[in-house]
Subunit: 223 residues, 2 copies
DNA sequence: CCGCGAAGATTGCAGCAGCATTGCGGAGCT
DNA sequence: AGCTCCGCAATGCTGCTGCAATCTTCGCGG
C-alpha cells in the first residue's frame, strides 16, 4: 500500500512515515501542493493524506482540482481544526475522511483501511441472448442496450425463459412464473402471451426465437 | 437515499429521522439488533447508523455478523465514547466511519455522503439525462446547469429513477425510496408525484420522459 | 408419402385493472 | 397569515389480458 502525504511540518511527516512503515505502508512525502499535482499524475496512490494548512494555500482547494483531473483516489484530510462545521466542510468538497490532530497512528491506519474497503460495486448480472439482454432481478429487457418495455405477463414469461436459455422450460413452470395459486388459468392464455411476446420481440429485432417443444414446454434460443 | 438507524434512545432517533428527512434521507428506525438483522436482509439500505450501546448488547458485535451475511452496506457507528482508541476499535471490526456524540446533523449527512461516494465514479459528475443533470448524493437537479428545486418527495422519486436511467424501476422500489415503513401509503400518492413531477420537468424543459411500465413500475429515459 | 388428430399459433373482442390527471383540504414551514 | 407540499379520492382512459374461435403446424402411423 502506498500513500501520498502532503504535510508541511517536516518532523510530523517523518514520524508518520516511519510509523506507517511499520504497518507495511509506503509513504511519499511532499510539502507543497504544486508538487502533489505532479506526483499524483505520475504515481498511483492508494490514498492521499492531506493537511489543510499548507505554505502554498488551503489544502482543501486541492481536492476539487484533483477530482477534476479524474483521480478517484481516496483523500483523508488531516487538520488541527476539529470543529464539526470544519469537518463538514472538508467532507463536502470531496474528502473521504477527516482526521483531527492529534491522532493515533493506529487510528490513521484504521481509517485508511476503512476508506479503501469501500469500493463495493455490485455487478449487474443480466442474461444475454441474441442482441437482447435480460436482467431478471430488475426485470429489465434491453435490445442493443436500448430498453424495451413489455407487458407484465409477457415480461415474466420472457424472464423465465431467459433464465434457462437453450433449455426447455416446462409449461407448468412458465405458468407458475406468471400466475400465483389463486389465479387459475383455464384457457390458452399462456400460448397467447407467447404469441404476443414473439411478435413484440420480432418487431424489436431481438435476435432470439421462442421454440415450442410439443407437449412439454418452450425454449428460448438465439437465432 | 435510505438509512437504517439502530438506536435505543427513542427521542434522539425521532429527532434524527426528522432532521435527516429534511435532507431528503428516508430513515427506518429500530431499537434492537435482532430486528436489524432481519431488516438488512432485504438489502435496501444505503447505509446503516449504529449505536454502540444498545439494550441487547454492544453494537459493534453486529458488524461482523452483518459482514458475514454478505452485506457490504456502509456502517457508521454512533457513540458517546469518542476516544481515539475506541474509534480504532470500531473501524477495525469493519465500520466505515465513526461519529462521536454530540454531532451536528450536517456532519452526519456529510459523512454519509462521503461514505457513499463511490471511488469508482470519478469526480462525481452526477447522472446526465437529456438536458438534465442529477446528483444523487447531494440531491441537486440542474437543467442546463441552472438548479431546479423540486418538492422533496418528487425529488426522491426523480433521483431513484435517474439512478437507474433507462431501466425499469419497480413500483415497490420507488415507494421504498420515498417512504419509510411507518408511513404507509394507501392511495395513488406515488402516481400523483409522478404526474406532478412530469409536469414540472416538462415546464422546465428537461429533455426526459418518465414512462410507465404497466404493472411493473416506471422508467426514465431521454426523449 | 399422405392423412389425421392433437397441440400450438394467432387474433378479435370485451372486461377491467392500472395509470394519469386534478381539485380539495389538511399539515407544516416561513 | 400565506404559502407550498402532499395525501386522498373521483374521474377518464388506455391497453393488458383472459377467453374462445379459427387456422396452422407437428408427429405419428399407415
Amino acid at each position: 500500500m502506498r500513500l501520498l502525504l502532503i504535510e508541511d511540518e517536516k518532523e510530523l511527516a517523518i514520524a508518520l512515515s516511519g510509523a506507517l512503515g511499520k504497518h507495511g505502508i509506503v509513504t511519499d512525502h511532499t510539502m507543497h501542493l504544486a508538487d502533489a499535482v505532479e506526483l499524483t499524475r505520475q504515481n498511483v496512490y492508494d490514498a492521499i493524506l492531506l493537511d489543510r494548512r499548507l505554505p502554498d494555500g488551503e489544502g482543501l482547494t486541492f481536492i476539487p482540482e484533483l477530482r477534476r483531473a479524474g483521480t478517484d483516489t481516496p483523500i483523508i484530510v488531516l487538520t488541527a481544526r476539529n470543529e464539526p462545521m470544519e469537518r463538514v466542510e472538508g467532507l463536502n468538497v470531496g474528502a473521504d475522511d477527516y482526521l483531527g490532530k492529534p491522532f493515533l497512528v493506529e487510528e490513521l491506519v484504521a481509517r485508511v483501511r476503512a476508506v479503501l474497503r469501500r469500493p463495493s460495486s455490485l455487478a449487474e448480472p443480466g442474461i444475454v441472448a441474441g442482441r437482447m439482454m435480460v436482467d431478471p432481478l430488475n426485470l429489465n429487457v434491453t435490445i442493443d442496450s436500448t430498453p424495451i418495455d413489455l407487458p407484465r405477463r409477457e415480461l415474466l414469461v420472457l424472464v423465465a425463459l431467459a433464465k434457462r436459455k437453450d433449455k426447455t422450460v416446462l409449461r407448468s413452470t412458465l405458468e407458475a412464473a406468471v400466475y400465483n395459486y389463486e389465479e387459475e388459468i383455464q384457457s390458452n392464455a399462456l400460448d397467447a402471451h407467447i404469441s404476443r411476446l414473439r411478435k413484440r420481440l420480432l418487431d424489436a429485432g431481438a435476435g432470439v426465437a421462442i421454440h415450442a417443444i410439443r407437449g412439454v414446454g418452450y425454449l428460448l434460443r438465439e437465432e
